[in-house]
Amino acid sequence: MATVPLDQGLLLAAILFTLGLVGVLARRNLLFILMSLEVMLNAAGVAFIVAGARWAAPGGQVMFILVLTLAATEVSVGLALILLMHRRIPTLDADAGDQLKG
């Protein structure tokens, strides 16, 4: 089986991460921000997989599973928070929730 070259894999991860980051920063809708966060987490997962494959180490895959669970919990907690917030402020605009400012 031909392995994906490390450079290309990492490039993919970087692109994904940047896309996610831009999504987080540029989107105002909380749901999209959450989805962009998922993208960023998965980018990290890709990097782990690629690296694990490159050095034939199981740690990469272990870490990927960890990232998956992390992403799952993050999404569930995040969605719960969004729901709660939506009850108080009927909007999904992230900037509307600036009542936490100092």
Binding site: L21, L25, R27, I33, G102
Partner: protein, 619 residues
Amino acid sequence: MREFLWLVPALPLLGSVILMFGSAHLSVRTAAMIGVLSVGLAALIAFVISAGFVLDPPVGGVYQQTLWRWFHVGGFSVDVGLRLDPLSLLMMLVTSGVGFFIHLFATEFMEGEQGYGRFFAHLNLFVAAMLLLVLARNFLVLYAGWEGVGLCSYLLIGFWWGDPLNGLAARKAFIVTRIGDTAFLIGLLLIATRLGTLNIASAMTRAHETLHVASPMVTLIAFLLLGGAIGKSAQLPLHTWLPDAMAGPTPVSALIHAATMVTAGVYLIARTHVLFLLAPIAQFTVGIVGALTLLLAGFSALAQNDIKRVLAYSTMSQIGYMFVALGVGAWGAAMFHLMAHAFFKALLFLSAGAVTMRLHHEQDIFKMGGLWRRLPVAFWSFLIGSAALSALPLVTAGFYSKEAILSGAWADGTRGRVLWCAGVVGAFVTGVYIFRVVFIAFFGEEHTHVSGSYGWRVIVPLIVLSTLSLVGGFIQLPPAFGHITLLSDLLSTVLPAPLGATTVMPLLFASFASISGIVVAAALYWRPTHARADATPLWRFWHAAAGFDWLYDRFLVCPVLWAARIDRDDFIDKIYSGIVWVTRAGHFAVRRTQSGRVRLYAAGLALGSICLIAIAVLR
């Protein structure tokens, strides 16, 4: 009997304490009784002790009494003890005796005043402090009396506290004298460290043994003591408090000027004459200060219209004579004049008080006039006092004492002659200013209504003091007049250099100066209608006593007041406020970033991580 010496200062102190705590519950009569009797008893005991002392002198001519050990620290100890020797004996008699008559006078003078009990409490304390001062065996005890006297002068000058001006005069008296006191205290520190003791007698002995004549150390000590004496005795340049001290009731002025307070400086220098003999420069300075003060005060007295201010300046002037005597080493003459001055100055103040109490406290001599007919007792007393003050030859105590001073100065070489000239000019001026008051206030037309009459408590002190002012000088007569030497015999054990022998020519000259002063006053003020000359610049200059007050006000008081006002909020606190301000500004600046916008935080996170990674990679 001598072992009861401690009662002499203790009795007035006890009276003072009783009056202070009980004044709210005591009737006027009881308060007066306590006030007068405590001092009277003290005077009586003092008299009996003195009689015993003269008739049966103790061994060494000194009686000492230790009361208790004040403190004892690291080998340095101060005992509270009394010392009776001829010098303190004389002072004790003058203070308690004259003080008693002033108390007696005051019981009538102060009748109907608010705070009668408080007045006598302070008056008693005043006498107690002065007696402690003169009897002290230790410099620090002397200093305690010294400060006590200052405190009482403050309390009594400001006795009528309702008027802020009285309070100002009182504080001025205390603070100005305290400047001198602080010099004195530093002198004491110097004595304690260099001579190892504050016991007066042993300090004098050690000074004599260990310090060289005219060495810088002894000169410095003498000058510092002189500073204290100048403050208390109202000599140049710390004299400005005395004329203002007239704000107090007249008996207080009498007490300050005659029995207590201002004579303390003269006593201090006489007491420490060993140091001044070791420091000729300091001693000569004493004479110069005295001569300058006696001239300045004499001329200033010429330009006053307030009867009490005239007397105040005359006190400064007479103390100046005593300083001259000290400066030329005529120690005995200084004490002689101190005693005579106590008699006639108390008399003058009390008779002035007797005048004003009948005139609704009017003190302007131009508003009096013709009083000799209306108030014969006050007139004759004042006349006798004036005669003694201007040293009318032969019949007054002032003549003999002043003569002793002038002959002492004459005998002291060239620089003594200079002081002698000042003294003679002063004698002339004295005659002019005091008889100016006599002629304006007691002769001429009547200007005011006189009411009431005197009780025995006013008349008796006046008669006694008049008698003393006339005959008090006969205890010490120069050879030309019978050569009686009671005083110099008494003082010979404590003070060196007996009273100087008189040469006839300078004596005649001085007598002529005194008499011509009186004659000039008579010529100028016999008809006082044209005598009021307020407007001339010269008059204003001397009315303001050569402007010392103005000078101090401008260059000392105002800057301090200004600084205190400017710095009311403490500029150092502003530094800390500055730190607080910077912190708070930083807080506001950083607070902006906490906007509550999640995406901004995320951007910050990202940026921060990128920077960190960049640093980690590129390093």
